[in-house]
Amino acid sequence: MNKQADDFFKADAMKADLIKDYQELARQSWETFAAQMQKQFGTAGAEGFSRSSSAKNSSANVTVDHALAGLKSYADWLQGAAASVSTPQSDWRQQMQQLFGGASQPFSHGFGGTDSSGAKAFVEQWQAWLNSNQKTGASGAQPQEQGSTTGFGFGHEQHAQHQALADAIAQHLEASQRYQVLMQRSNAQAIEKMQAKLSKLAKPGQQIESLKVLYDLWVDCAEEAYAETALSEEFREAYGEMVNTQIRVRELQQEQTEYICQQLGIPTRSDVSSLGERLQSLRREVRNSKTSSAASHAEEIEALRRDVAALKEQLLASKASRSVVRKSHAAKAAVAKAPRSAVKKSVTKASSAKSPKTAAKKTAASTSREKPAALAKTRKRK
């Protein structure tokens, strides 16, 4: 044992007793804390995300759930670590293994639910389902190799369903185990990373003096190792397989539920889903027809605006032509009274004014041709 380690581990018997007493106190303190929290907020337990999220849940309640779960495993680790560091050890690497490689490692809660405990709970749930179904008359299905069963006769279909569910559960267990192996590997890599980092901190002034600092360093290493694992091809396959096999179990369970419901004349999930699909299709149709009807109204209004504009133009043109005619009559009357030179000028003006009159007539004619067509279009849309 080197000198520093020797100094560190020179804890006398009195200190060891104190630590034991302290551990007991800490345990009691934790249990009291957890009990009071649960009493106060009515939390069902620290584990799990099974509760469906809803705005109705109070944040304090949700936070206490999560905090309790996280703090419990940290407090356990803290107690173990406090005891460990008070016990003389010749090799710090072995001590590190004890601190982070055992059951009390702080990693355990971090992966709660994604690791074997989550998988185990899931499988237990479906196994219970399978067992309850078997009790109700189905034959005892056990996982079998694919294609190994043949059957016929009354009840064969139901038996096949049970067999499929048993096989699916077995496949999911296998997939979960494969996933679990990767998680364990990730944990081992985290310890390696931690050792590598710690070995660089042996110089005085750099050494770890607090459990919290040690814990934070561990979290960094654990996350780093996890990220490397989680981004590997092997993990992608294992993760996909674990989720897909789990869903397959659920799918088969739903099929069995539907079968039972159909026998009892109870509406099934498929029925509800089918209604939902039909409803959404109708909602879409209604929306589209509203949108297209609004668009067609807009077009109609636009067409009417064009008609009004054309009529206005027509009106202005006819007003202009009438005023020209009036002027022309006035000029003729003036010619009769005026001297010859003046008549010449007036006649020239009148003849040049004839062209706008013709143009106005042409405009009126063309507008009257367009107008019925536009109106007809509008009516047709109605």
């Binding site: 380690a5 070995s199 990220a227 981004l231 992608r236 897909n244 959404q280």
Partner: protein
Amino acid sequence: MVPHSPFRMDPAKIMDEVSAFQRKLASGMGQLRGARQPGYANTPRELVYSEDKLKVWHFKGEKKPTSKTPLLIAYALVNTVWMTDLQADRSMVRNLLEQGEDVYLIDWGYPDAVDRWLTLDDYINGYLDRCVDAVLQRCKLDAIDLLGICQGGVFSLCYTALHPHKIRNLITMVTPVDFQTPDNMLSHWARLLDVDRFVDTVGNIPAALMNYVYLSLKPVRLNQQKYVGLVDILDSPIELENFLRMERWIFDSPDQAGEAFREFIKKFYQDNGLVNDSLEIGGRRVHLGAIKHPVLNIFAEQDHLVPPDASRAMGRHLGTKDYTQLAFKGGHIGIYVSGRAQREVPPAIHQWLRARD
């Protein structure tokens, strides 16, 4: 030979450390017990449009907007209004209003079994389009500014490509475009997911499941270390309130409409449709090259949900010549709610818009 020990732990000091932790925990128990459910910023707002479970809110600032063009915000379907309006001093909408923006926001609501068949077409060409129309009609304009956040940013990109004439300027925040960058853990996990069987079996995707997956991205940090840190702030009522508010927001998520989820996983995570130019929404091709609008793309450098490279890819695929990229020093959550984000992000958005208003 055993190397020198990196530990220098005095048992007495360790005892002090552990007992201090327990003391904080015990005394903090009272604080946590007495903690009320913290409220959100709840910036004054007016309902201007609603349809099914969706609402469009118009936020009211203390002063009149100086911007001529309204800004419509679309966040991700997994989120809620509060992500942009968490608390008075951490509210993106409040800061945008103070800058002079005229802010509207789409509140997607909480889908239930009736909404299980909503597709991406329903969301993008249906809901989002009608929300844009509602703002256009209200403001008597031909085009508005659109700000999409995360999945809302993906929707905004698709929408702008499909309805270019209705958008004037586009802003995206923490928005993935390349869904298959090597560091994208979510994408990595989703690649081999049998999403058809998943949705057919589960229907709507429960929010608890989504949250669980997000926590699994950094399991020890998010499930444990965060709560170990909570012990240090249990004696600070303000910090505790902020923590509880954040927790309330994070775990208060809507379920995901099954069909839209199926499409999103397939078209974006599995097929990487935006980058491969193979994306179709409602039978219409979505081509990012069709976006000729000014685009401001803001991403977070430490984003563990949308890696920066997933977002940076946008610049390579847009058709616009007016593209600005802004890297924020923070994470996916911090970009909306951190103090730094409040100081940096809304002013940057406003200045960029002002130059193009």
